[in-house]
């Protein structure tokens, strides 16, 4: 518990006047004393205990004094003293009453516990992800530095280049510091098993941007950023504990990353999860001003604004700096001009926290809202139970009133029961949410470092914890619900005379309570309707999403990643790299259960990977424009066959294309549409619009009319495949290159994702594949082995997460709503037993009785559904961005839900109605 909380809570105990006068001053004195005690190294527990006791007793004395100070009659004073004693007595009575009705108590506590627990867990998520600031000092000054390009029709997401980083760093006045970073996977070898780890390369300036102190050792110094990939690394706390057992002597040790040695110089605390919790190691990003490239937007950027500067001011300044890029990089003037004049680059500056949580904000609030509605429905149910109980206690209450108990006393009686129950529910809820949070965090630990982990769907999840705030939320929730349902019976206090007169001769229930009950049922049905519609819309979206053709056959495909590093596979030796993959494919295909195998530098749903504009043979480039950017992948022979990607025209890439370097390429339909509208692309020749940029080689713009271009020839067309998500608005244009060509432009083959078509469940082959790889090269770890179906499912993870929670909420609402209407109708029947008996005795047919009861229920359900439709129309708009292929006003969903809910409501009425109609009139009347 924090020191400030103690004083804030305890000050509440003081009388209002005392607090108004001295509260603020006391809090200040207390804070100063706490700081002093801490500075002197005193035991804070002792300090808190001493201060706390004195504050509490002081408060009691002040209260007592305030009482005495007010001029009171003796009677008044006595009554006040009695209130306190009464409260204790009431509490004991309430506890006794609840123990005597275990069924009722259990039902209420469980209903409230489950719903408060769910609401609290979601609240904890909202708090950790959306509400709390990032764990960096003055984190509101952090911004994501990104770019868009009007000429490429791209609003944002381009990222940063080395040249722009230098340009901003030198000239921007609106920022205090700026850094860029890029993340990749590297093989960690030596000392234990080879492992594939995520390494983030950062400019040392990231330390000044984020301002986090290392747990051990140090962060990078500026000079380490001058060398090319400086040979030092900093570990994350999680990785340090997992691989080195939290050994502090790790500092100074040498580790081998992708064949080169690095010295460990520091360990960063767990709060420093930059750019995400998957990163295990940071290494300095070497940027040499002499060779820094203007192009190559391969980096993420983050900056710290100067105090008082807004992101908009920075955007304006940086846009100006972009215009002066050609002047700043005269040796790269052609590319710089193209970026400024043709691509029309502009800055996209966004609050860093916003960039992390992005679209999740809406989802999380919708979920919290949904859970709160479920809580309200539960609350209505409990209120109903309370009404029934209050009905049973009417006589007792009337007698107590007649004997002189005050109205307030009786009301307090109800409220005590309610609040006590609610608190029990709140405690259960808090426990449940704590368990839920642990389970969710367990997920995070279960799959560290994989690119599709839950941490990608829920950023900042690692910051989630069960703390005082969450507990406070659960208890507040409990108190509010307690007061809500506890005060419902008070709306219509029983009339003493009538009750006593009526006792023993029950005919019909009082009108007032019926109104309260009816309103509760209508509310429940309306709220359940809204949640069911929301759930229904999500289900429809999900079905639509899963019907999308990904363009390949995901069933029975195993994928895994292999990265080759070290001298054996140096850049100069592309053939040895390709030869390794060739051998690997051969061995894979020889495994039992494998029908074919191939590989690509970038699988579908694996992200953007690598891309540039293209040029077409015989088509000079228009001045001031830039051709559309397409993404490239290299593929091994047999890739399209293994993935069962159908050819729309021409042929795929075959083994001889690779062996004799024919330059045959396959394009996607979107590429054909963009570059060859109305033409036949087969046989046409294309090439990259810019080349170079490998190592220190400068990037040159390729002139399509120049001689000696190593053209690619289009030999086939395939459908568009999804890059990131199945429901992309527009699927990107893709170019599929063979593994070897005349020159080595394009993505390297060191990092390859294998795809293996199997006749057995794909993941059962993982051990065989691992030992195969071990045989070929023990220093190459197997990474990210998973089935293609898994990858497809993971791409819709966020939607399935929302879907599952919404459907759970909707089902809970339906269940609670059904119980609610069933409870009310059965209660109605039991109250009207004698009336029904008389009707039956006078010759009413059972059908008429059933009809009478069901009609009552149907009326309630009907009003509820109508209110629900109105509510749903108003609120499902909020779901718009979460839906796919279905409108928030989808008539089919509304009708289905209305039918379902109406049907279930009628069924819930029909059961007690049948019971009523089946009564023998004699029994019914004898019942009295």
């Amino acid at each position: 518990m924090s020191a400030g909380l103690v004083i804030r809570v305890l000050l509440r105990l003081y009388p209002e006047r005392f607090r108004a006068e001295y509260g603020a001053a006391m809090a200040e004195t207390y804070a100063l004393r706490a700081a002093e005690a801490r500075a002197r190294g005193r035991w804070m527990v002792w300090f808190l205990a001493r201060e706390g006791t004195s504050l509490a007793t002081g408060a009691l004395r002040e209260r007592w004094g305030a009482w005495r100070a007010v001029r009171q009659t003796k009677g008044q004073r006595r009554r006040q003293a009695m209130t306190f004693v009464n409260a204790l007595v009431e509490l004991r009575h309430a506890a006794r009453r609840l123990v005597r009705a275990p069924g009722f108590t259990l039902a209420v506590v469980l209903t409230l516990g489950l719903t408060i627990g769910a609401t609290t867990a979601i609240y904890a998520l909202v708090d950790a992800i959306i509400v709390r600031p990032l764990p960096y000092p003055e984190s509101e000054r952090l911004v994501l530095v990104d770019h868009g390009a009007a000429g490429l029709d791209q609003e944002s997401g381009l990222g940063m280049s080395e040249g722009l980083y230098l340009q901003y760093r030198r000239n921007a006045r609106t920022i205090e510091s700026i850094g860029i970073h890029t993340t990749g996977s590297r093989n960690l070898t030596g000392e234990g098993t080879a492992e594939r780890v995520r390494v983030t390369y950062v400019t040392p300036s990231i330390g000044q941007v984020l301002q986090v102190k290392p747990l051990l050792g140090r962060w990078f110094v500026e000079t380490e950023g001058d060398a090319q990939w400086g040979p030092v690394v900093v570990l994350s706390e999680g990785f340090w504990r997992q691989r080195y057992g939290g050994d502090p002597t790790v500092l100074g040790r040498t580790i081998t990353l992708s064949g080169t040695s690095h010295e460990v110089v520091g360990v960063m605390p767990a709060s420093f999860a930059f750019p995400g919790p998957a990163t295990s190691i940071w290494a300095p990003l070497g940027i040499d001003p002499a060779t820094a490239r203007v192009g190559g937007f391969n980096y993420g950027g983050i900056a710290r604004l100067r105090d008082g500067v807004t992101a908009e001011q920075m955007r304006r300044e940086v846009d100006g700096l972009i215009a002066s890029v050609p002047a700043a990089f005269p040796d790269q003037i052609a590319l710089a001009r193209e970026i400024v004049n043709s691509a029309r680059l502009f800055a996209a500056i966004q609050d860093y926290k916003e960039s992390l949580i992005g679209g999740l904000r809406r989802t999380m609030w919708v979920l919290l809202g949904t859970m709160s509605v479920v809580l309200l429905i539960a609350c209505a149910n409990v209120a109903n139970l309370f009404l029934v109980r209050a009905e049973g206690r009417r006589l007792e209450v009337a007698v107590r009133r007649a004997l002189g108990a005050s109205r307030a006393r009786i009301a307090g009686n109800y409220l005590f029961d309610a609040v006590l129950l609610a608190l029990l529910g709140g405690i259960l809820g808090a426990l449940l949410s704590a368990v839920g949070i642990q389970l969710l965090l367990g997920q995070l630990v279960a799959e560290p470092g994989t690119s599709f982990s839950i941490s990608q769907m829920l950023p900042r999840l690692h910051e989630l914890k069960f703390g005082g705030g969450v507990l406070g939320f659960a208890i507040t929730c409990a108190l509010i619900t307690g007061v809500l349902f506890g005060s419902v019976p008070l709306l219509s206090p029983p009339d003493i005379a009538e009750t006593v007169r009526d006792s023993g001769r029950r005919t019909t229930a009082g009108r007032g309570r019926f109104h309260a009950r009816n309103v509760l049922v209508i509310m429940q049905i309306a709220m359940a309707f809204v949640l069911l519609v929301a759930g229904g819309l999500m289900i429809r979206s999900f079905v639509r999403l899963n019907r999308i053709d990904p363009g390949f056959d995901a069933e029975n495909v195993l994928t895994f990643q292999v990265a080759l590093s070290g001298e054996r596979y140096s850049d100069a030796n592309a053939e040895s790299v390709v030869a390794f993959h060739g051998t690997m494919v051969e061995r894979l295909e020889a495994l039992p259960g494998v029908s074919s195998a191939s590989g690509t530098t970038c699988i579908p749903l694996g992200g953007w990977c690598y891309g540039d504009p293209l040029i077409v043979e015989g088509r000079p480039r228009a001045e001031g424009t830039i051709p559309p950017v397409v993404n490239f992948r290299r593929v091994l022979p047999g890739y399209f066959e293994t993935m069962r990607i159908p050819l729309r025209a021409g042929r795929g890439i075959e083994a001889h294309d690779q062996e004799s370097r024919t330059g045959a390429v396959v394009i996607s339909e979107e590429l054909a549409r963009l570059y060859f509208p109305g033409e036949d692309p087969i046989g046409r020749r294309i090439y990259f619009a810019a080349q170079g940029g490998r190592g220190d080689a400068p990037v040159e713009i390729v002139d399509p009319t120049a001689p000696g271009i190593p053209w690619f020839t289009v030999v086939g067309i395939i459908p568009n495949l999804a890059l990131d998500q199945l429901n992309e608005d527009r699927r990107s244009a893709s170019l599929y290159l063979p593994a070897l060509h005349q020159n080595e432009e394009g993505p390297g083959m060191h990092f390859l994702t294998y795809v293996v078509r199997t006749s057995v469940p794909p993941t059962t082959l993982v051990p065989a594949v691992r030992s195969l790889l071990q045989e070929l090269d023990p220093d190459v770890p197997l990474a990210s082995a998973r089935s293609m179906e898994d990858i497809v499912a993971a791409s819709a993870l966020r939607m399935s997460f929302t879907l599952v929670l919404l459907v759970i909420a909707a089902v809970a609402a339906l269940l609670l709503g059904t119980i609610g209407i069933y409870g009310v109708i059965s209660y109605l029947v039991s109250r009207r037993t004698s009336e029904i008996g008389i009707r039956l005795a006078l010759g009413a047919r059972p059908g008429q009785v059933t009809g009478m009861v069901v009609r009552h229920g149907a009326r309630l359900a009907g009003i509820g559904v109508i209110a629900g439709i109105a509510g749903a129309l108003l609120t499902t708009q909020l779901l718009q961005t979460l839906l796919y292929g279905v409108e928030p006003e989808d008539v089919a969903t509304y009708s289905a839900v209305a039918l379902l809910l109406g049907g279930i409501a009628l069924l819930a009425c029909w059961v007690p109605a049948r019971r009523a109609a089946g009564m023998s009139p004699l029994n019914a009347l004898r019942n009295e």
Partner: protein, 134 residues
């Protein structure tokens, strides 16, 4: 910050215009209240400073907790020995900080208590219970 009816002026007026209250009912002063009055002897101070002064002066024997300190201050204020200043004295910039100061009555009560103690000390000396001052 200047104001037309400064607090100082107002309290001076109160002190002169009200009939002199006898210091007698307040004596003997408790240990902590007397220490607080002493702490305020040099001029206004805020709660933390008062507590600190009490602690130093008593050589650590008294270290009033926040609760105890403010209860004593509240009583002294109610009795009119001490008053809460409506605005902080000049060099203080933190407006949240509340300053206390002695009232004229408080000053007299402190003096009376000191006198009472001095008389007791003198009596002790007379009976050779306490070394004479050098």
């Amino acid at each position: 910050m200047t104001s037309y009816y400064s607090v100082n002026y107002y309290s001076l007026e109160t002190a002169t215009m009200t009939p002199r209250t006898s210091t007698q009912p307040f004596l003997p002063l408790g240990n902590l209240p007397f220490h607080i009055l002493l702490a305020l002897g040099n001029g206004p101070a805020h709660g933390y400073a008062i507590g600190k002064d009490v602690e130093t002066r008593s050589g650590g024997a008294l270290d009033p907790t926040t609760g105890a300190l403010y209860q004593a201050l509240r009583r002294l204020t109610d009795d009119g020995l001490v008053e809460l200043m409506r605005s902080a004295p000049e060099p203080e910039t933190d407006a949240r900080r509340k300053y206390f100061r002695l009232t004229a009555l408080g000053r007299r009560v402190a003096a009376a208590e000191a006198e009472r103690l001095a008389e007791l000390v003198a009596a002790a000396r007379e009976r050779n219970l306490y070394p004479a001052s050098t």
